[in-house]
């Protein structure tokens, strides 16, 4: 029988320092489970980008603006679930704003959604009980033959 998935969760508020702490928490979970460094890196990038988007751009009409972050580890990979009570925002279908990469563009930013899509193996979104739920899945690399 395959081992049961290991699950971890925490709550955080809408602040950038708490996002930083949460990303380090994900890194510690990955290190503790001896995950492949590439998988760990991908998880951290996606968590930082998704949480930063919520903190910087998420508008909370009701509720305390609390974010729930959960990590589940399984033999085939990892799943990260992020829930927030901000206005609906679907990362999986949102049109990413163009990155401000022109040298004479005074704005800076616009990379987050592109990084999430590049580093996660799969994305899923649901709106449930007035909350956004983003599920990010990360596959383990196949073992060398």
């Amino acid at each position: 029988m395959p081992p049961a998935p290991r699950s971890y969760s925490r709550l955080l508020g809408k602040s950038l320092p708490e996002v930083g702490d949460a990303v380090c928490w994900v890194a510690e979970i990955a290190d503790g489970a001896s995950l492949d460094p590439n998988l760990s890196y991908a998880m951290q990038v996606c968590v930082e980008e998704a949480l930063t988007n919520i903190v910087r751009h998420g508008r909370c009409a009701v509720g305390p603006g609390e974010i729930r972050l959960a990590v589940a580890l399984a033999p085939r990979g990892a799943r990260v679930t992020i829930e927030d009570d901000c206005v609906p925002f679907d990362v999986t279908s949102a049109v990413a704003a163009p990155a401000h990469n022109e040298p004479d563009d005074p704005e800076i930013g616009g990379w987050g959604i592109g990084l999430i899509r590049a580093f996660a193996s799969r994305l899923a979104y649901a709106r449930d009980n007035d909350r956004n739920r983003l599920i990010l899945e990360f596959d383990r690399s196949p073992a060398p033959a």
């Binding site: 930083g20 460094p37 990038v45 980008e49 930063t52 990379w111 990084l115």
Partner: protein, 112 residues
């Protein structure tokens, strides 16, 4: 995030970063990069010991590079680890400033 700033022989500013360029790391070096941007000298940044980079770190690097480019001065990044390299190329940072393998290539990139 540790940062060392020195001058290499040709008047190029070299920045050596060590640690996580995450939210805390980027915030801790923002002021130093702002000072570097105001010097209007070519800059090369050694990323070899940077173990993590995402948007907040890109923002710090991009702010400095764009400020320099506005004065016609170049900045180059070199020696990124694979994960950091993927972030730089996915985000298109390499279209604004060269991302190269080593210091020699970085020096050449900012001297052109």
């Amino acid at each position: 995030m540790d940062i060392i700033v020195d001058e290499v022989a040709t008047g190029v500013t070299r920045v050596v970063l060590d640690g996580r360029m995450d939210i805390d790391g980027a915030t801790s070096v923002d002021d130093k990069f702002a000072v570097i941007a105001r010097r209007r000298r070519p800059v090369i940044v050694d990323l070899g010991e940077v173990t993590f980079l995402a948007s907040m770190g890109i923002r710090t690097l991009m702010f400095c590079a764009k400020a320099l480019l506005a004065d016609g001065v170049k900045m180059a990044l070199y020696n990124p680890r694979p994960g950091v390299d993927k972030v730089l190329r996915t985000s298109g940072v390499d279209t604004v400033m060269p991302v190269v393998a080593d210091q020699v290539a970085a020096m050449a990139a900012v001297s052109r």
